[in-house]
């Protein structure tokens, strides 16, 4: 195996380990702790954001390549994420049938 291939394999394995850890911590917090629901929720959201960062750095090469493409795609991604999450919360919270 060449030097470069080895380095990239290490990088990937590290990323994989991080993402697994984050997943299991989330599972643990949700299932096996007796924190109040709101604290659990915040904890999971924070873990999710960390998970996103891990994916971007270790698998999606966010630190390499053309800056402008990275910015555009990150920007678009954040736009869609906000629309989906905030939009869904808005819609589900203010439903006249549940009030």
């Amino acid at each position: 195996m060449s030097q470069q291939k080895q380095a990239s394999a290490k990088h990937h394995v590290a990323g994989y380990a991080f993402s697994l850890v984050l997943t299991f911590v989330a599972l643990f917090v949700a299932l096996y702790t007796s924190l109040p629901a709101s604290v659990k929720l915040i904890g999971i959201v924070v873990l999710a954001i960390l998970q996103m960062v891990v994916q971007l750095i270790y698998f999606m090469h966010v630190t390499e390549g053309s800056k402008i493409y990275q910015l555009l795609s990150l920007g678009y991604g954040i736009f869609v994420a906000i629309v989906v999450v905030a939009g869904s919360i808005w819609i589900m919270l203010y439903n006249t049938m549940t009030q």
Binding site: F79, V80, V84, M97
Partner: protein
């Protein structure tokens, strides 16, 4: 849930209904026929080497298109069955359950397994050629995409003969689609068929995004790209951001059904409406995924056959970019009536109406492209011309639906059904057919017979309007969608009868179309002309069909419509003097087809909730991935210079300064 509890559904092999028995018999006969022909003419090896293991984007494109035409036939038969049942009041041709299954499979097949694969097939054929690339960015991944689509489609289509079809509509709303109200395996077919093919589509989105951003020939700046390439780029962006939502939604519902989770059930604190919400967060972008490429095709065809440069190129680009963002901001218009607060409905009404603006801009651009052009009425141009008025009818009624209070009247009536058929048939299907006719000579070296095709066109378009204009009217008279029968005296009978006749006319149009293709395959003169339409873009500068490496010399681009410029100004886009160099091309590989086979096994196992079978399939998939990652460093070969000489000469002949026929007032 017991891991090894391999329970049997009520009816594993569906048998008894004469329609289904007929389907069984024809499936068996056709399969035997194919096996017989392949064996008799010793074509198995050829099938494996040339098609099943290919990573050539042009061949993958052809396989997509053939599959899509088969799915158009299957979805079309579903449509005919529904229309027979509704032709007159109180018919008993189909019972309620069978009718539910058929409208579900019709919708799913048409959108997921017909429209998208057809367009992706045309993208595969044309986009790399249009940007001067030798293949897509990830050729093996491209083959994986195709085979995942194929596995998903096969799985979904098996449902009606093995185990029973899904029956909760293509939107698959819970709670109806939940385990409690619809036990059994039908819905699982929906979940796994869409999941498997959806992963393939996501990979296609990534592949074309990277291909277009990274593999353009020198000089092919973004603002010089042909409009079909632009629309493919934007479609890919939408795919990349929308499909993960579908993947997640399907996975959550699978957890609910298979593992007893409660994401979408009221008990256990789930939210049924969340399914509708997630479905349409994907679903509305999805309708733009199937219309934008069609817009791109019309742009190419109209500019080619009006012999004019596309009017308002940059306005077109701005419009599709705007649509890509807007398409994520309108999804609530599909469930205005689910009790949203007034602010929510108002905001989404306005965003929905706003999306009509860029769409309108595009319509004007096509009209101005034709203005003072020398229009040639070829079949692809006829489909494009018919698109404009038909699509406008669909678009205008869309804006009517966008008004939330009015939608309380229209929603889930036949008015809505007619809206989306006008945009999907008048837009997407017409676009697919225009593209098929337009690029057919590039794929195969001859044109489809124009005389029969024009008959097919007229019969189809007349049948289409005869079917769907009455649907608007009967919708306004209050006929709801998804009912399997109705009583007399509601004022619906006459209109329904006309619709059914219209559907048969459309079916006749489809038969004529297939006849035109078969006739041309048997009789059309193979002239292998590179540039049969007097085209403007790069794909017409190389041989028909193109060599597997596409371009012997990579072209150099100096402006929009590079071939047209070359023909008109006597410029050259292929440098005759640069020496030919050997070309690196990817090897054929069987991994994609084998891996999709394992996906199929996994899907089948999980559909029947036979967990060991499902896990075995997943294990196979993982092994394929490992095999691939251990072999992917030596899967290239070189095309030697000696093999490139003829192709290079052909390129020079086409685009090395020959003057064009019939050049008119072009800017």
């Amino acid at each position: 849930m017991d891991l090894f509890d391999m329970k049997m559904p009520d009816q594993l092999i569906v048998w008894g209904n004469p329609l289904i028995n007929g389907a069984w018999i024809s499936i068996i006969l056709v399969t035997l026929g194919i096996v017989f022909v392949l064996t008799k003419y010793k074509k198995w090896r050829w099938l494996w080497d040339e098609w099943l293991t290919t990573v050539d984007h042009k061949k993958i494109g052809i396989m997509y298109i053939v599959s899509a035409l088969l799915m158009l036939f299957r979805g079309g038969v579903d449509a005919l069955l529904m229309r027979i049942q509704l032709a007159l009041p109180n018919l008993e041709f189909l019972d309620a359950q069978h009718y539910n299954e058929i409208f579900t499979t019709h919708g799913t097949v048409m959108i997921i397994f017909m429209a998208m694969p057809f367009l992706i097939g045309l993208m595969n054929v044309a986009v790399p050629l249009q940007i001067g690339a030798r293949d897509v960015a990830f050729p093996t991944l491209n083959a994986i995409s195709f085979w995942l689509f194929f596995a998903g489609a096969l799985l979904f289509n098996l449902s009606f003969v093995i185990g029973g079809s899904p029956d909760a509509g293509w939107t698959n709303y819970v709670p109806l689609a939940g385990e409690e109200l619809t036990p059994g395996i039908g819905i699982n077919y929906y979940l796994w068929g869409l999941q498997i093919s959806g992963i393939g589509t996501l990979a296609t989105g990534i592949n074309f995004l990277v291909t277009i951003l990274k593999m353009r020939a020198p000089g092919m700046t973004l603002m010089r790209m042909p409009m079909f390439t632009w629309s493919t780029l934007i479609t890919s962006v939408i795919i990349v951001f929308a499909f993960p939502v579908l993947t997640v939604a399907l996975a959550l519902l699978t957890f609910d059904r298979l593992l007893g989770a409660h994401f979408f059930t009221i008990d256990g604190g789930g939210m049924p409406m969340m399914w509708a919400n997630l479905f349409w967060i994907w679903g509305h972008p999805e309708v733009y995924i199937v219309i934008l490429p069609a817009f791109g095709i019309f742009s190419e065809v109209i500019s080619t056959f009006a012999r004019k440069r596309l009017f308002g190129y940059s306005a077109m680009v701005v419009s599709i970019v705007a649509i890509s963002a807007l398409s994520f901001l309108v999804w609530v218009h599909h469930f205005f009536t689910m009790g949203n607060g007034p602010w929510i409905n108002s905001v989404f009404s306005i965003t929905t109406m706003a999306i009509a603006i860029p769409t309108g801009v595009k319509v004007f651009n096509w009209l101005f492209t034709m203005y003072k052009g020398r229009i040639e009425f070829t079949t692809p141009m006829l489909w494009s011309l018919a698109f404009i008025p038909n699509f406008i009818i669909g678009g205008v009624t869309g804006v009517m639906l966008a008004s939330a209070p009015a939608d309380y009247q229209y929603h889930n009536s036949y008015f809505l059904i007619s809206h989306f058929h006008y945009v999907l048939i008048g837009g997407t299907v017409f676009g697919c057919l225009a593209g098929l006719y337009y690029w057919w000579p590039k794929m195969f070296g001859f044109k489809i017979n124009e005389r029969i095709s024009k008959w097919a066109f007229w019969v189809f378009v007349i049948g289409f309007n005869m079917t769907f204009i009455p649907m608007y009217l009967v919708g306004l008279k209050g006929m709801p969608r998804r009912i399997y029968t109705y009583r007399e005296g509601l004022g619906w009978t006459g209109l329904n009868f006309i619709e059914t006749v219209g559907t048969f006319v459309m079916g006749a149009g489809f038969v004529l179309l297939v006849w035109a293709i078969i006739y041309s395959i048997r009789h059309a003169k193979r002239d292998y002309e590179s540039d049969p339409w007097n085209g403007r873009t790069l794909e017409w500068a190389i041989a028909s069909p193109p060599p597997h490496y596409n371009f012997a010399r990579v072209p150099r681009i100096t402006g929009q419509d590079p071939l047209w410029r070359a023909k008109k100004k006597g410029e050259t886009i292929f440098e005759e003097k640069t020496p030919l160099k050997p070309i690196h091309m990817p090897n054929h590989t069987g991994i994609p087809a084998v891996m999709a086979g394992f996906w199929f096994v996994a899907g089948f196992g999980f559909v029947f909730e036979w967990i060991p079978v499902g896990l075995a399939g997943i294990l196979g998939v993982l092994l394929c991935m490992m095999w691939r990652s251990l072999t992917d460093y030596h899967d290239h070969h070189e095309v030697p210079v000696t093999e490139l000489r003829d192709a290079a000469a052909e390129e020079i002949k086409n685009a090395g300064g020959r003057s064009a026929r019939g050049v008119v007032n072009d800017g």
